[in-house]
Each structure stands twice: as structure tokens, then as C-alpha cells.
């Protein structure tokens, strides 16, 4: 599948934003993080900026962005529609919660508990819906499996944790527990992606050029002549091939930059005497993590093969 920049940016940025809000709210709900107004400003500010950036970029690839509101109407059947509705409604409890966290009296009252619970639920639901847009597409076996929602959810948390961790360091609010949680989530991301890549290597769906043409019963089928001389929309949108050539190297980049190096950097960050040096190391963990997650998402699209490629020369998926 063609890895459109807008969709990569949308899924990674909004995923990190929702993951981050989930973790701050959960942290404050459990008392692990303080109800501190400067922390609220920087963390919710970053998270909302990411979410809004993501949602805005998702409308860039629409042919008729001015009609985007229509996408909120078909929640009964469409995961894309559900995603839009959840994304917008998540702003209400998270926005109110953020306002109370930033300007409130610093007491975690009942209203905040309710808002916190609603925020947790809606953030998770939004990311789940994003993943289900892909996981419900039968023509793409690499997407149509449970490891897709699992990795979207885990990666939203791990990339959100990486960012939140950095903010905690800048506010000197980090401690062993926050470090530990970030490391655990990053390792969970690594394991999920590993399992995902193992799964898609073994499960390529039942379709082949034989079933796509129905001629498989008669013998071995191959494309003799293309239907047209120039690339059409289908070939451009679904026939992306570059990734498969470099996928091994790109997967290594994902593992190393996205998970292993950040885990290493977070583990050693506390060893430096100077705060500046520590903060530098933590910032580096974010830069690497971003490269890792962007590569991961690029691969998620570029590696996925669509059944339409069976009509254009592919023998299997």
C-alpha cells in the first residue's frame, strides 16, 4: 500500500498524543504524578498539539476536505466514522480535565475523577478505532489481524510515554517508577512489533492469482498481459513495492531507534551529574524514538500487500 505522508503523520502523532494523555491522567488518578499546573500546561499542551496536528493532516489527503463533517455520520457501520466521532468527543473530557489540572485548586475532586475515567476510556477507544480501520480490511492480510489493534494501542502508549518522560525530566518530576514504566512500555512495543512481523511472515491470506481469477483449478496462472500500458490509480495506491526490498534494514532501524536505544538512554540518563547532560540524553531518546515510530508506520503501510496486486502480476500476497 502507498505510504501516504499524511496518514503516517496522522496515526503516529495522534497516537502519541492520546497515549500521552492516557498516561498523565492515569498517573494523576493513581497519585503517581502530581497535580501540578506547569506540568499540566506542558504535557497537555504537547499532547493536544500532536492530536490536532494529526487530525489536521488526516484531512489533507481527502479529495474534498470541505465535506469532512460528513465522515461523522456513518458510525453504525464504518470504523473511520467511529474514529472521527471518538476523536472529537475525546476533546470534551480531556479538555475539561486539562483546564482543571492547569487552573484548578490542585485538589483531585470527584469531577476530576469522572473526567479522568472518561478521558481514559475515550483515548483508548479512539486509538482502537484508528487501528480497526485497517484491521477490518480483508484484502490486506497484513492488516486484518488482532496484532494490528494491539500494536496501535501499545505503540500509542510507548510513544506517549517517551514524550511524557521527557517532560517529566524537564520539570525534574521523574523518578525510578516513571523511568521504569517508560522502559516497560517501550519493551512492550518492541515485543508487539516482533510478534506482528512474525505473524505477517506466516499469514499471508488465502488469496492467490489462482483464486483471484478462479483459474487456479486449471493450472498455474500468471499475468500474460497487463490491462493497460500506464500505471493507474490502483497500481499507485496499492502497488507500492519499494519497502519490501529494504524491509529487513528498516525493521532493524525500528527496533534499534524506536525501542532499544531509547531504553538504553533512559537507563543511563540518571548517571550524569549535570542536569543539562541528562536532559540532552532524554531529548535524544525522543528524536530516536520518533525516527523509530515513523519508520515503523511507514513499513506498516509500505509492506502491506493488497489483493488487487494479484491482478497486476503478484502470485501471492
Amino acid at each position: 500500500m502507498h505510504p501516504a505522508r499524511s496518514v503516517i503523520l496522522f496515526t503516529t502523532a495522534s497516537g502519541a498524543g492520546y497515549g500521552m494523555i492516557f498516561l498523565i491522567v492515569l498517573g494523576q488518578l493513581t497519585g503517581l504524578l502530581p497535580l501540578d499546573s506547569t506540568l499540566a500546561f506542558s504535557s497537555f499542551g504537547t499532547a493536544f498539539a500532536l492530536i490536532i496536528l494529526g487530525l489536521a493532516s488526516s484531512t489533507f489527503h481527502l479529495g474534498r476536505p470541505e465535506r469532512a463533517w460528513r465522515a461523522l455520520t456513518q458510525w453504525r457501520s464504518s470504523w473511520l466514522s467511529r474514529e472521527g466521532i471518538f476523536a472529537l468527543s475525546t476533546f470534551i473530557p480531556t479538555g475539561l480535565y486539562a483546564l482543571l489540572a492547569a487552573f484548578g485548586d490542585g485538589i483531585f475532586g470527584n469531577t476530576m475523577v469522572l473526567l479522568a475515567l472518561a478521558s481514559l476510556l475515550l483515548c483508548a477507544a479512539t486509538v482502537y478505532c484508528t487501528a480497526m480501520i485497517y484491521a477490518s480490511l480483508k484484502p490486506v492480510p497484513a492488516w486484518c489481524n488482532h496484532l494490528v489493534p494491539a500494536s496501535y494501542l501499545v505503540l500509542a502508549l510507548s510513544s506517549g510515554a517517551l514524550l511524557l518522560n521527557c517532560i517529566l525530566y524537564f520539570h525534574s518530576l521523574n523518578n525510578r517508577i516513571t523511568d521504569g514504566i517508560t522502559v516497560i512500555l517501550l519493551l512492550a512495543g518492541l515485543v508487539t512489533k516482533f510478534l506482528y512481523w512474525q505473524y505477517i511472515a506466516e499469514n499471508k491470506g488465502l488469496s492467490s492469482v489462482g483464486t483471484a481469477t478462479g483459474l487456479g483449478k486449471m493450472g498455474k496462472v500468471r499475468l500474460l498481459e497487463a490491462a493497460h500500458s500506464e500505471a493507474n490509480y490502483l497500481m499507485k495506491e496499492m502497488g507500492f513495492k519499494i519497502a519490501r526490498k529494504h524491509s529487513r534494514r528498516l525493521r532493524k532501524i525500528t527496533f534499534v531507534c524506536g525501542f532499544i536505544l531509547p531504553v538504553f538512554l533512559i537507563s543511563v540518563a540518571g548517571l550524569f551529574a549535570s542536569t543539562a547532560l541528562t536532559n540532552l540524553v532524554i531529548t535524544l531518546s525522543i528524536l530516536l524514538g520518533t525516527i523509530g515510530v515513523l519508520t515503523e508506520r511507514w513499513l506498516f503501510f509500505a509492506e502491506a500487500k493488497h489483493s488487487v496486486s494479484l491482478y497486476y502480476g503478484a502470485e501471492k500476497l
Binding site: R70, A71, S77, G214, M218, E225, M238, Y311
Partner: protein, 250 residues
């Protein structure tokens, strides 16, 4: 509404495509383009039509495949492909706007051009590559089963069939109600063992394909061993033939 009709349509209009007859002339694709560029989903935009990289919207495309069996006999099969108007059409249910819909009265799958936002998700959901995006207008387009012909009372009755069906010079495409077991198309499917494309995905396509027939007799060159060109002048050949062979071999 992009939910599928709650009751299964009573009529299921569709095509039956005979892979035995199709000669791969692309006439149906051309006539489809010709009719539909002025029809329900008009225009079928072409970008750079006379330039180096022409690109345009077509609802019907003809691929050609080769099938090689165990005896190494090969067969060329021309394979027209347009929307199959699936009963269980995920292109409809994934649509977030309600632009994609399946008609209750005859099962035809259409796109409402006024509602489509061009998110392209339906083209990802279609396993068969039956949807094409019109970059110029920013919306998705697809085969309409010539909804603007089949009910068109301004046309003579004989012309009220899809453009691709009416134009096929060899009659490889048939149109009718595949929900009616008595219809000519349903009979054809039964008689010839019509099949679904990618049945494993369970889209329940309405359009059916008829398989190429087996070779008729031992003289057709690809049954059994390929026939050799045998020299005329064997011992059994007549005197004249042997003499002619000698002269010509000089």
C-alpha cells in the same frame, strides 16, 4: 446510509462473464468509458491524455492471464473485470459519509458524488480493484451497472442493457437478475459452473465468471503432446510426393 440493506435485495442485477468466449478485444472497456463519461458518474476524467503519462478513470479493464496445466499445455484467458456488485460489499460499510450505498431494489452499488469526501477507504476495502479515484473532482467513482441505461425509457428496449454487454462482439457478457433462478443468466451459471472471484473473502459477489471450456478434441494443438510438423515424404508417401520432396530438397 452505508449499512447494507437490512433485507437482501429481491433483485440482484449483475453480469455473467464468459472466460471461454472473451477474445480480449477491449471493446467493452472502450464502450464503458464512452457511455459513462457522459452518464451517471460523468466525467471519467483523463489526466494528460495525449502526454507521456496518461492516466484516467475506467470502470472496466481487461487483463490477460496464461494458465499452464500439468502437461505443460497453456491457455490464454482474457479476463474482463468491473465491479461485481457484491452482496456483502465492504466498500459500502467502510464508507464514513454515506456516499457509498447498495440499492435495496436491485443490489446495485453506487457512489453519491455529492457526499463523497474522497477518503479512498472504499478502494482499499474492495478486494477486486473495482473503484477508481477521480483526482480531478476529488471523489471515488465506479461501475454503475449502467443504471442510467438499464432503466432508461428513452432507449429502445433492446438497448436497455449495460454498455459493455451491448457492445461485446462475441457475446461474452450477459446481464440479468442473478437472484431469479429461472433467469437466463442464472441458468448459464448453473449449466457452465459459474464461480465467484476470491470466494475465500466471502464478499458474495453477484457477478459470476464462467470457466474456459476444456479442449474439444485431440486435434486441438494443446491437448496431449504438442503436435509435430511431420515431413511429407515418408516411405508411405506417393511417387509424386517423393519426387517433389527430392526436387525441393536440392
Amino acid at each position: 446510509m452505508t449499512c447494507l440493506p437490512s433485507v437482501s435485495p429481491t433483485k440482484k442485477l449483475g453480469l455473467v462473464i464468459d472466460l471461454d468466449i472473451c477474445v480480449g478485444c477491449h471493446a467493452c472497456a472502450v464502450n464503458c468509458k464512452e457511455w459513462n463519461t457522459g452518464g451517471h458518474s460523468a466525467p471519467l476524467t483523463d489526466l494528460d491524455p495525449y502526454g507521456a503519462d496518461p492516466n484516467g478513470v475506467w470502470f472496466n479493464r481487461i487483463h490477460s492471464f496464461e494458465v499452464v496445466d500439468e502437461d505443460n499445455d497453456s491457455k490464454t484467458v482474457h479476463f474482463p473485470k468491473s465491479c461485481l456488485h457484491c452482496d456483502d460489499a465492504p466498500c459500502v460499510t467502510v464508507c464514513p459519509t454515506g456516499a457509498s450505498y447498495k440499492r435495496e431494489e436491485d443490489g446495485i452499488v453506487l457512489v453519491d458524488a455529492d457526499k463523497c469526501i474522497g477518503c479512498k477507504l472504499c478502494s482499499w476495502a474492495c478486494a477486486y480493484g473495482a473503484r477508481e479515484y477521480d483526482e480531478d473532482v476529488g471523489i471515488m467513482k465506479k461501475c454503475t451497472l449502467c443504471v442510467d441505461r438499464i432503466y432508461n425509457e428513452n432507449l429502445p428496449e433492446a438497448s436497455r442493457v449495460p454498455a459493455c454487454v451491448s457492445t461485446c462482439p462475441v457475446g461474452a457478457r450477459s446481464f440479468g437478475d442473478l437472484n431469479d433462478p429461472q433467469s437466463a443468466v442464472s441458468q448459464l451459471v448453473v449449466d457452465r459452473g459459474g464461480f465467484d472471484l476470491m470466494a475465500e473473502l466471502d464478499y458474495k459477489p453477484v457477478n459470476k465468471y464462467l470457466p474456459p471450456r476444456p479442449k474439444q478434441n485431440e486435434h486441438s494443438c494443446s491437448s496431449g503432446k504438442p503436435k509435430q510438423l511431420t515431413p511429407i515424404a515418408t516411405e508411405k508417401a506417393g511417387l509424386f510426393a517423393r519426387w517433389a520432396d527430392k526436387v525441393l530438397s536440392l
